[in-house]
Symmetry: C2
Subunit: 255 residues, 2 copies
């Protein structure tokens, strides 16, 4: 097979069950452009013009337009008259290889500001008490924080903490510091590990408004139960990340 | 503070910046019920009736209804006349702690069937060739598979493989076996590790139709580059998981 006579990506030269449509090809191209965006290939934020994308992906103008439409719906790019297609906002990696607070993760990109929308003492839902290994009816500290980088929302965090450490935390600088660092400061202990569950959810109207993202936009929802190094659970969070701004990353080994 | 006189979860007894609305409370309740669903608390699939949920979460009937609406939009529950609110489909955990194929992950739940929608030789987008460390213009095997458990779609997988192992794979039982196992079978080598990136995206119309999920539903999009144990990249996948059926899980340590 001679690469000089290579077929376009949408034109297989051998096939078991070839039922691909233009929609399939557009998704392939969209996936490739998304990989470019996430890895920062389009520094400066402007995508190549359509004819260049047509040449790069060896496909049709229609397919490229369809692919760009898909990325626009995701909120990753916007069409700007006179400029072309631009990347809407920087997208950052959030590693799953080490337990870090958001400000620690984003250190190289700039400071995280936290808008503390709620800080109160409540009786939580029973499932929250169970996960924190507290008796039913016990009070917890409940925090709701909108977290921004460069003024643009990254995540909306709902946090439950046992009152014995939570009440001390309320006197600390919640606007500028990670809860992780504050827990270690207040307890004098290191954090140990966390159980992390990652889901995708559509933004409810209220979350969408707070995160300044379209209603029904796909969000990464992370439930994270964090323990001190003695095994005691101390922090249960439900974090809604804007999926156009955060990619979760892990390295996984076979054995 | 006496738990017997505990306030409802929505009624803080102390507050720094209390701006919570009914939408916030509904989201809290929805998060708690989602945790129950995902951990299989509602075995049999029927949620408690509204008055019981009102009592459990110490909140109002309106808040419970709002919370159930949020979960219905996510596709997690449905209202069935005469039965109540039921869990739509089982939700499964996909661990990030070890590199496993989907059939290996789901072994205890039943066999995975793969509908091979495309299996062809193509020239991939350049970013795909780069990630597989192939020269630009080199051919690859391209697979598109719809993967089901119990007849219900779990994921739509787009897979790129170098031709030297891909062409042997095409003769294997792609309908019933993981590509991971087949790669190890064909090469006689073990897989080593994989770089995994997790995003949330809205389902484009075509993916939604194939996955039998609502248009714009939030999906987990996993990009995974897998290497043999000698470090050679051999498998690049773009996997769209139905987020109402899969939760990604990891345990993360601080140091």
């Amino acid at each position: 097979m001679n690469p000089r006579t290579a077929p376009a990506p949408g034109e297989p030269i051998a096939s078991l069950a070839d039922r691909r449509t233009r929609a399939d090809r557009a998704r392939q191209v969209a996936d490739a452009i998304r990989t470019h965006i996430v890895s920062g290939v389009y520094a400066g934020g402007v995508l190549p013009r359509e004819p260049e994308l047509v040449a790069e992906f060896r496909t049709t103008r229609n397919t490229v337009r369809h692919a760009l439409d898909l990325l626009r719906v995701e909120g990753l790019v916007e069409r700007c008259p006179g400029v072309g297609t631009v990347v809407t906002a920087d997208k950052y990696s959030h590693g799953l290889d080490r337990l870090l607070g958001l400000a620690e993760v984003m250190r190289e990109h700039g400071p995280i500001s936290n808008e503390v929308r709620t800080a109160s003492v409540v009786v939580p839902p029973r499932v929250v008490a169970d996960r924190l290994e507290l008796p039913e009816g016990a009070f917890v500290i409940y925090l709701e924080r909108l977290r921004r980088l460069g003024g643009i929302p990254l995540s909306l965090d709902l946090t439950y903490l046992p009152t014995d450490m939570g009440e001390q935390l309320l006197d600390e600088d919640l606007a500028n510091r990670d809860v992780f660092g504050l827990i270690e400061h207040v307890t004098g202990r290191r954090l140990g590990d966390a159980d992390v569950a990652i889901e995708a959810v559509n933004a409810d109207p209220h979350s969408a408004a707070v995160l300044d993202t379209p209603r029904d936009a796909a969000l990464l929802l992370v439930e994270r139960l964090t323990r001190l190094d003695d095994g005691r659970p101390v922090d249960l969070e439900f974090i809604r990340f804007r999926a156009d701004r955060i990619t979760m990353r892990a390295q996984v080994t076979r054995s």
